[in-house]
Amino acid sequence: MNERPGKAQIGELSPDAYRGLVDRLPVTMRPALNQQLSQWSLLFPFEQNRVASFMKGIETFSPSGLGAVTAPLWALEKKMGVKNWNFSEANDTIENASQLARSEYYSEWRREVQKVFDTVNAAAQSPAPTPAERTRLILLILPRNLPVSPQSVWRQWDPRGHEIKISGDSERLCELALQGQPDLATLAAQQGGVESSDLWLIDAEAKLRSMISNVSPIAASSLGYAALKQFRDRFLAELNQAPKDIQATDEIIAKLRLESWDGWGLWPEEIANQPRLRKFVIDLFLSGNGALIFSNAFVEWAVAEALRRARPRTIVARFGMRSKPKPFTSIAIFENQQRVSSLPDVDDPENSAVDAVILARYAWLAASRYPEQQQTLCICVSEHCDSAYAILPAGKSLDWSPQHPIASEELYRWLMAQILS
């Protein structure tokens, strides 16, 4: 669903009322929607609005009208033999995904599903003009201990951007953004933000959380790979019990989703009282992509998922160092390396830098899939190189020549001005 729901057009959100609407849809569209409805209170506002907008779209169709829109997908499901599958309508499962992906009609199915979503979402659109968006920010930090190559660090970035030389200590920029006057939380509050899902701090280590002021006007959604260590270790141990079997893995994943993790006392303080964020972490770890294994993969995937699910106004993400693989443990990379080897961890700065450079770019690419990217300012800072790469919102330009170095303080002031403009 690529639409942009406006909060104003959505009335009272009522998941129970939506369940009947979901049943009017083709079978393969139901699991994702039913899963969201069953976890309604744990959805971010953006997700709730998106579902509500879609449901509003369905309601605009008469039964025969919706039948006409969905008829090709119903017909395709018949050809695919969906009714003979072990297909869960309640949840997205690996088994569901596997059955769909190995169908010879898979590509056609994806196209048809997208068509239905597009048609329904178009029907839901309000004719009222959308108010002008304020500038959003993605600030990505490659810390000083990652020796990225100054020659190639920005080579593959979006050519619309500009390389910026930073004079002096580039580490100051992140500090100023989180501790300056004003800081990002204050700015978010000034712009009317009261929702913690509007401001995300995502960290490979434990720096960002310590930088943000305790008296910030809005609570941030703060996730730190290092802070989650105890929880991660326990979660990985549970997950690795899954046998090599799709059905059994689905059962274990379902069990992990429902597990009462709160009782274990393993959540870091900043998450402990935020059920929605705790659920986000569990979903993140269950969706793979290395989030349980490598800190930089955690940062990238958390950014991508936060963008997809919460569409925040501001994200600050800081990459970090990983350890070198140890003898023998590199062949069992999915295991807890500290558990399977007693050798001490040894930093791997060069390869951590290689990972962080591409994953920082992926964070921007994830953002660029959504319409909000038009209003997004993305700055990636390499502290090691004392340089940054800035991609500006449509119609904006730098106030200075990028050939000339700029101090962190000036860059911070410019950045704040962009957000306020």
Binding site: S98, A101, R102, S103, E104, Y106, S107, R110, Q156, K244, D245, I246, G288, N289, G290, A291, I293, F294, N296, A297, E300, W301, A304, R322, K324, P325, K326, P327, F328, T329, S330, I331, A332, I333, F334, E335, R339, V340, S341, S342, L343, E350, N351, S352, V354, D355, I358, L359, R361, Y362, L365, S368, R369
Partner: protein
């Protein structure tokens, strides 16, 4: 690679093959052999996981494949465009290559291929013994069912031996940790105990997921002194061990001892990409590049293989493009050229005239091509024989 690490892996691979050979003396004691049970022609397929063209045979990737590009390409028939039009998962792709039909099976290998593999076609038609057909795989997404189809007239009695050397290492690491002695993973000498224990106690190799006929399972004591020597050398170093390294060493030992006519090797170090480490993914590509070159050199050395072997090397598929909604290089799910389109290199007897064939081909073309090399022309397969080869 440092010599002591190599020695450990080599000793372990010899141990492993010795172990298999001993058990197979019993397994094949009553098997009726064909006239020779062998064929002089040899075909080796190396499938090396999901690798994008961008990290290999495009300008951006040539530095990762010095051996493939500089040493092997000039003597190969090279196909820069091979399309995986099937399901881009490991089990489905490997079984599609082996059967010449696009397979749409359980991704985790719960069911055997739905069409006969070329192992079965060739073993049945030519009376080849089971020693003549092997799958040696690093990839834990495969299962032993990959070696033979579910077709009644073919099936396991004509299938291949299937072994997963990397799984032996993984099991040893996990066993050490689960038994509360993670120091074994740090102490290379101690890993020997873990490896030996698994080989000795895995009934019919079940714990490793292997499919090799025979139930005998004992360690050849003659190998212990050479293992001990190799381990003593290894403990002086601290280098990581890769699964593909071990897979190749076991493959080499199988080639020396059994000289199979049909050998499929699958590498999977590159699949660390699923966990999001691009640097380790690139390291996996470089390892694959070096191992393929070593394999090619071994083919030139061994009398059973020299001058009669065709070697195919190909990625199973690419990986998703940067910016895809499937998280780019992490996965191989998107329906896009970055994922579906890759390359194939053919070396050796069938590639007597080096060439680059730009006409697009498909993974399912390999099966009829290999069958044709053995004189079997009448198979009803959807793929076409590869152009440009001397068969």
């Amino acid at each position: 690679m440092d010599p002591s690490r190599r020695n450990l892996l080599k000793a372990a691979s010899i141990l492993l093959v010795e172990h298999l050979a001993n058990s197979r003396k019993f397994a094949f004691a009553g098997e009726p052999a064909s006239a020779s049970g062998r064929d002089e022609r040899k075909v080796i397929i190396v499938a090396c996981g999901g690798i994008r063209r961008a990290e290999t045979f495009l300008d951006t990737g040539l530095e990762n494949i010095p051996h493939l590009y500089h040493d092997l390409l000039p003597r190969s028939v090279f196909y820069p465009l091979i399309r995986n039009a099937g399901v881009t998962s490991h089990y489905n792709t490997i079984s599609s290559i082996l059967t010449g039909n696009w397979q749409r099976l359980d991704d985790w290998g719960k069911t055997p291929p739905a069409n006969p593999t070329f192992f079965e076609y060739l073993r049945k038609r030519m009376g080849l013994s089971q020693d003549a057909a092997w799958v040696i795989s690093s990839n834990k997404a495969l299962t032993s069912r990959i070696g033979a189809s579910s077709i009644r007239d073919f099936g396991p009695r004509y299938g291949a031996n299937v072994i997963f050397p990397k799984q032996l290492l993984i099991n040893a690491v996990i066993q050490a940790a689960s038994q509360g002695h993670p120091e074994h993973s740090a102490d290379r000498a101690a890993m020997r105990q873990e490896l030996e224990a698994i080989l000795q106690h895995a009934d019919n190799y079940e714990g490793l997921g292997w499919s090799v006929s025979g139930n005998e399972s004992f360690l050849d004591l003659r190998m212990q002194s050479s293992m001990q020597q190799a381990i003593e050398e290894l403990v002086r170093t601290n280098a990581p061990v890769t699964g593909d390294e071990f897979t190749l060493l076991v493959s080499e030992e199988v080639m020396r001892r059994f000289a199979p006519s049909l050998l499929a090797i699958t590498f999977s170090d590159v699949e660390v990409a699923h966990f999001g480490s691009y640097s380790m993914h690139l390291a996996g590509i470089r390892t694959m590049d070096r191992l393929v070159y070593e394999l090619w050199n071994l083919v030139q050395e061994l009398p059973d293989y020299r001058g009669r072997t065709t070697l195919f090397v190909l990625p199973e598929f690419g990986r998703d493009f940067d910016g895809s909604n499937t998280n780019g290089f992490f996965n191989h799910r998107s329906n896009n050229d970055s994922t579906n389109l890759t390359w194939l290199m053919c070396l050796g007897e069938a590639a007597r005239s080096a060439d680059v064939i730009e006409r697009p081909i498909q993974h399912i073309d390999l099966c009829p091509t290999i069958a044709g090399m053995f004189g079997i022309e009448d198979l009803d397969l959807p793929g076409k024989r590869l152009p440009g080869l001397s068969t």
